[in-house]
């Protein structure tokens, strides 16, 4: 991977204070079984469990955003958050398609049918972040960022700049996308073709990290978020040698010796040669079978790895269909 020399590299580690992941089985922080044909599942039990009350007028996307983020925040004592300036960085590739589709269907209905104002309000791109901010009583920096399959890493990169400039003390960074039928249309929305992604079931999820910048009690660190400045050709998207070399370079900048190393491959990497990685001293943490393919699946993989493995260092590798690469290096306590 080559990077633009003019852009400041992300060197300062971001302590991860808490992490939480929810996949298509809607079971927080569990690798629960699920089935693409049954999606989408009703999230109301999840809402009740996490929020303690129903969210009657919200759609699935808003419910998933709020549940995922609150599951993460619940891992820290409430008093800890009270005095802190928190920024919200919601990453989503597709946003609230679950609200947009029924609304536009009503609009185009030939025989009347006045579209619901509530549904329109919920379909607006930043409605989910607004509701989350309201529930958490957060004001200030609340951003919704969308960059297809690189949305989560983009939000992470931006959060780092906000932490660094002192505007916030903590960053609540999450990735959320929801399954909307049909599977074929979901494929099209994600630009998935047989030759540019793994063949896996489609999924959904809402996974979050609470990041700090000081000497907080932490479960690990995000060590680097690095975007490539060149587009790799399709035949190099899954090239193990190149990915290994970039990953080694990235973690060489950090004090990580002695820790077990993991590669987390994103869904554009169509094959992972586990034998090759083992030979080089790396394990492969293949998280995608636990969450399926969706634009912000990287958030699930990273949040899950943060919780699952202790004393490790891992690199998540993602690549946009255009060939733009991004690596996220992290370590666990």
């Amino acid at each position: 991977m080559s990077s633009s020399s003019d852009e400041k590299k992300t060197i300062l580690a971001m302590p991860v204070i808490a992490a939480s992941y929810i996949g298509p089985a809607l079971a927080p922080n569990l690798d629960a079984a699920w089935d693409e044909a049954q999606l989408p599942l009703n999230p109301d039990d999840l809402v009740q469990k996490i929020m303690g009350q129903p969210m009657r007028r919200a759609g699935r996307f808003i419910k998933m955003v709020c549940c995922g983020a609150l599951a993460c925040l619940k891992k820290v004592p409430p008093g800890y958050l009270k005095t802190k300036k928190i920024g919200i960085f919601l990453a989503t590739g597709l946003g609230n398609v679950d609200e947009i589709l029924p609304f536009i269907t009503q609009v185009f209905k030939h025989e009347g049918g006045f579209p619901s104002p509530n549904q329109f309000a919920n379909s607006v791109s930043n409605a989910a972040a607004f509701f989350l901010a309201r529930i958490c009583e957060i004001k200030g920096v609340i951003l919704t960022i969308s960059e297809e399959e690189l949305s989560f890493e983009s939000a992470l990169w931006l959060a780092q700049s906000y932490l660094e400039n002192g505007e916030i003390d903590l960053a609540l960074v999450g990735g959320c996308d929801v399954f909307t039928p049909t599977v074929e249309e979901y494929h099209e929305r994600m630009n998935l073709k047989p030759d540019n992604a793994r063949l896996l079931p489609m999924g959904e999820g809402s996974s979050w990290l609470l990041l700090g910048k000081g000497n907080e009690e932490k479960i690990g660190d995000i060590l680097a978020v690095e975007f490539g400045s060149k587009l790799v050709p399709p035949e190099e998207v899954s090239a193990s040698e190149n990915i290994l070399s970039a990953s080694e370079k990235l973690i060489a900048k950090t004090a990580s010796s002695g820790k077990k190393r993991f590669l987390l491959p994103g869904f554009r990497m169509d094959k992972t040669d586990t034998h090759f990685w083992k030979q080089k001293g790396w394990e492969v943490d293949d998280y995608l079978p636990y969450c399926g393919i969706y634009p912000t699946a990287a958030a699930f993989g990273i949040a899950r790895a943060m919780q699952k493995n202790t004393s490790t260092i891992f690199v998540h590798y993602n690549c946009h269909a255009s060939g733009k690469q991004v690596f996220v290096a992290a370590s666990t306590k």
């Binding site: 589709l101 791109s125 004001k139 960022i145 990169w157 400039n165």
Partner: protein, 389 residues
């Protein structure tokens, strides 16, 4: 952000007033402004929702892409960017609908081509807001960081503020900030369902106002630290950028004007500019009851008797939603190049609850600080200054 040395190196815009920022500005200044009209594009299904449509004959998808390309090409050309400079630039895009127009166009075409048959279900095939930045980056060879803000009406104004902040931190070398919003049935009907759409005329800050009218368009603004001046008459510094998101109301920034006043005060403080130094205000001024009341009251609280000329561009170009920040900035800059601050359109009668009349004639545009404000859905607020040097 303090002691900014971020400059605007280039800009371009396509609006209902013209296929370039200067053309839009010249028409605005000359008063060649057509009222909003029923949409002529084949996919727009409800003539009662008048809008500010960019004139074009041809396929609406082709038009959407042509708007983007024209705005980008104009901005890049004005900035005089080399291919290497374009490649190392970062791209920050503000859009809510992205290329959702594709779904609406394909659906209406399917219905049109199959008369008498039952309508198919509408499909959602676009790739989310980030698709726009992928399209632009691929077309122009932009290889830097990409960030798409999908934040309703403040999408591209937030993008401008974030871009300036990243430049200040030296995280990026140059920012190409894009706003893009083609007309959609989704938003026309959506704002009408919220009873926020004016079926007659958009009348910002007027006592008789009853809602917004949507305008489509695309724009690009290129920011750089210590950058070369744009090819033109003036040098324009971007300063005091501030964004804030409240959580009190999904649809209003609070009609008491407190939040609006606070946001603008923060902007002035961080740029070390006094209220009395502001030459003119490019207000958000949507023409909705609550937005104009909250913004108007906030401006009066802060500026009092010394309120400089207040201008809303939405009576002339409509509300470009997520693209409003980039579009209004680009057109305003071209007005400054013409040496004039444009007047507001659509105003008839002073609202005693607001207490001021927006500028009803063009004014000279001297050097100095111009304030820009945006207050959007989800209690989102952006404000910044552009200082003409």
């Amino acid at each position: 952000m303090k002691k900014s040395d971020i400059y605007v190196r280039g800009w371009g815009a396509v609006t209902a007033l013209g296929w370039s920022a200067p053309e839009s500005a010249q028409n605005l200044i000359a008063g060649k402004v057509m009222p909003a009209r029923a949409g002529t594009a084949s996919y727009l299904i409800s003539p009662e929702y008048k809008a500010f449509e960019v004139p074009y004959s041809g396929n609406p998808l082709g038009k959407a892409q042509a708007m983007l390309e024209k705005a980008l090409t104009e901005a890049i050309s004005r900035a005089g960017l080399s291919l290497a400079e374009i490649a190392e630039s970062s791209l920050l895009t503000g859009t809510t609908g992205g290329l959702f127009i594709r779904n609406e166009y394909e659906f209406t075409e399917a219905v049109r081509k199959n008369p008498g048959k039952e309508s198919p279900a509408i499909s959602c095939r676009n790739r989310g807001p980030g698709e726009v930045s992928d399209l632009i980056a691929g077309k122009y060879g932009i290889r830097g960081m990409r960030l798409t803000f999908s934040m309703a009406c403040v999408s591209s104004s937030h993008a401008l503020v974030v871009a300036a902040q990243l430049l200040e931190q030296k995280k990026i070398r140059r920012a190409i900030v894009v706003g893009f919003e083609p007309l959609l049935n989704l938003t026309l009907h959506g704002f009408a369902s919220l009873l926020l759409y004016d079926y007659d005329q958009c009348r910002p800050f007027c006592a008789t106002r009853s809602g917004m009218q949507i305008g489509e368009g695309a724009a690009a603004v290129i920011l750089e630290q210590n950058g070369l001046p744009a090819q033109g008459k003036g040098k324009y510094k971007f300063a005091g950028g501030y964004l804030f998101n409240d959580n009190n109301s999904l649809t209003s920034a609070g009609i008491d004007g407190e939040l609006v006043g606070d946001v603008i005060q923060q902007t002035l403080t961080s740029a070390q500019v006094l209220p009395g130094d502001i030459v003119a205000i490019k207000a958000h001024g949507t023409g909705t009851k609550d937005n104009d009341l909250s913004e108007g009251r906030g401006l009066v609280k802060l500026f009092g008797e010394k309120l400089p000329p207040v201008v809303s561009l939405k009576g002339a170009m409509g509300h470009a939603l997520g693209a409003a920040g980039a579009i209004e900035t680009a057109v305003w800059l071209s007005c400054l190049e013409e040496g004039l601050i444009p007047r507001s359109f659509g105003f008839v009668e002073t609202d005693p609850e607001i207490g001021f009349t927006p500028a009803l004639k063009n004014n000279p545009a001297p050097n100095g600080a111009y304030l820009f404000t945006y207050f959007g859905f989800g209690s989102t607020c952006t404000s910044y200054l552009i200082i003409k040097e």
